[in-house]
């Protein structure tokens, strides 16, 4: 669409081209949208071809947040690299940790103990709620619903306080590690979690009261950005994108990990495939996450939180004073690290935005040969163009919003 004879140059970043398309009357305006636009969820740049207000072409330009995390992982030892996994998708650090931890555990041939699995599920679902809350808050702002922001951030703050209580950090928790978790849940954490589960369904009712039947919200989102089920598969869309198009695809159900098969919950599905359906899916997912949280908290088993494998995790402090072997293991672990046997694994987990996967290759040394993140945002953002062709530019804002990309995750 951008081809055509350049006739005139407008202000900075605006090019006016004469279209060669048959039947088009007006001029095609090629506009740089971003990279610092408040509605682009980070530093996303879109080169948009406009015919009046009609979108005739969208080319996402990414890479502004590229930090070379995959390269840095190759320079760190297996147990050190976990801190980097927090930082690419900064809205769901525990889920990123979990995918990496599961991949390393499969390479090492160990499985986390049951209590660690329960805590992993709790942290994953908490962060899923927090991520959906941030999505709801910012997408509401973009479409003119200002009030929802304050409600969502009120609850997100509670999740961050729980992150701090259990791991010491509010955002980049590094809580889930290969072999288990970094620390046991404190009494205070369990109390906070219990109170959170109790009040959350009422809070979600509040969000729904603000938006679900709101005529402006419905007018802005219904029938906008329709993605059919076949297109969703062809474009590789996952997460709320594919479930909003009527496919009940959820890795927690279809390829369960970390004990998800033992909880009783439903996959949130909507059939319309538009922005409103994706909104409903995310709201329902928060409710289902609360259900999982309640069961995980009630059934949280006692026991160790780390695998009993001295080659992977340091021995308890008290053993160091009595056991020479413990000292040797401690020394070897912190000078050299551990070396998984050669091989490669792919582990995909259900993140807040879709399938978050880690492909890890070991060459038998103490550092990864290659770690690739299959990030949901990178794949989902490719569907912005087919969804917004022919729609108004204001609808494109709604579409970008409901795709829910995190640019740190796109660029990695």
């Amino acid at each position: 669409m951008a081809e055509g004879k350049l006739t005139q140059t407008g202000g900075p970043g605006i090019t006016v081209t004469r279209s060669r398309e048959e039947g088009l009357e007006g001029e095609i305006l090629t506009v740089n949208f971003g990279p610092q636009h408040p509605s682009t969820h980070g530093v996303l740049r879109l080169v948009v071809d406009l015919d009046g207000e009609m979108v005739q072409g969208v080319r996402p330009v990414i890479g502004y947040l590229h930090t070379g995390i995959e390269k840095q992982m190759e320079a760190l030892r297996w147990q050190q690299a976990v801190v980097l996994t927090d930082r690419h998708d900064y809205l769901q650090p525990p889920i990123n940790n979990l995918a990496y931890a599961l991949a390393v555990e499969r390479l090492m041939g160990v499985e986390a103990p049951l209590r660690a699995q329960g805590l992993r599920v709790i942290m994953s679902e908490l962060t899923r709620i927090a991520s959906h809350l941030l999505w709801l808050a910012t997408s509401g702002l973009e479409l003119g619903a200002m009030g929802i922001y304050f409600y969502c951030f009120r609850e997100r703050e509670k999740v961050l306080a729980m992150n701090e209580e259990i791991s010491g950090f509010r955002m980049h928790t590094s809580y889930i590690r290969p072999g288990g978790v970094s620390g046991d849940a404190t009494e205070r954490f369990l109390e906070m979690l219990d109170a959170f589960i109790e009040e959350m369904p009422g809070n979600i009712d509040e969000y729904e009261a603000l938006l679900t039947d709101n005529p402006i919200w419905r007018a802005r989102t219904r029938g906008v950005g329709v993605l059919s089920a076949d297109d969703a598969i062809a474009l590789g869309a996952t997460g709320p994108m594919i479930r909003g198009s009527g496919l009940p695809w959820d890795l927690r159900k279809r390829r369960p990990y970390s004990g998800y098969e033992q909880y009783d919950w439903e996959v949130a599905v909507e059939t319309a495939g538009d922005c409103y359906a994706r909104y409903l899916v995310r709201v329902k997912e928060m409710r289902e996450s609360v259900k999982i949280l309640r069961q995980a908290l009630d059934r949280l088993p006692d026991g160790p939180i780390n695998v009993d494998e001295r080659k992977m995790l340091p021995p308890p402090r008290e053993e160091l004073e009595t056991s020479m072997e413990a000292v040797i293991h401690h020394f070897k672990l912190f000078t050299e690290g551990y070396s998984p046997p050669p091989g490669d694994v792919y582990v995909g987990v259900e993140g807040a935005r879709g399938e978050h996967g880690v492909y890890a290759v070991s060459d038998g040394t103490h550092k990864p040969r290659r770690v690739k993140f299959r990030s949901a945002s990178f794949v989902n953002i490719q569907s912005v163009e087919p969804m917004s062709l022919g729609s108004m530019i204001a609808d494109m804002i709604a579409i970008i919003g409901t795709v829910d990309t995190v640019l740190g995750d796109v660029d990695r």
Partner: protein, 149 residues
């Protein structure tokens, strides 16, 4: 590790992918490259570059990995962007990071690195070192040195 995989020669990639898609592997998960330069393995991989495609059957949940080895002297592979659409950006990323040329790709340009970047950062022989510091001791030296290829 429990992951099933097949290895195919690069001439057969498009044929294999079309067949697998017809067999129900409708969902493309990801594609990437692994650089086996100076691998410490006793039985090293046949070539330096290895392309890895992960496909999934959404009916059964079954996953399959397709491996393709590419020689260092000729890192080219046919593009599969018209068979699996998400491969479009993955191929651009693999070109950007590893310098693998995908023949038939509509717009094989850099995607993550700046357009004027030299080299392919995820190759194992690309230094992690970072940028030279201005006003360091050998300021003159690096200013007059030719850019790294």
């Amino acid at each position: 590790m429990g992951d099933e995989w097949i290895a195919v020669p690069r001439e057969a990639i498009r044929e294999t992918m079309t067949d697998l898609k017809d067999q129900g592997y409708a969902s493309y998960v990801f594609m990437t490259c692994v650089d086996h330069l100076a691998t410490p393995l006793v039985e090293p991989p046949p070539e330096r570059f290895e392309l890895v495609y992960q496909l999934r059957n959404m009916e059964t949940g079954h996953e399959l990995r397709v491996r393709v080895y590419l020689p260092e002297s000729d890192p080219r592979a046919p593009s599969v962007h018209d068979i699996y659409r998400p491969a479009n950006w993955d191929e651009r990323e693999t070109y950007d990071m590893f310098g693998i040329l995908f023949e038939g790709h509509p717009r094989l340009t850099r995607i993550l690195m700046p357009e004027d970047w030299l080299g392919h950062p995820l190759r194992r022989d690309f230094p992690v070192g970072g940028e030279p510091v201005e006003f360091s001791e050998d300021y003159e030296a690096w200013q007059t040195a030719p850019p790294e290829a």
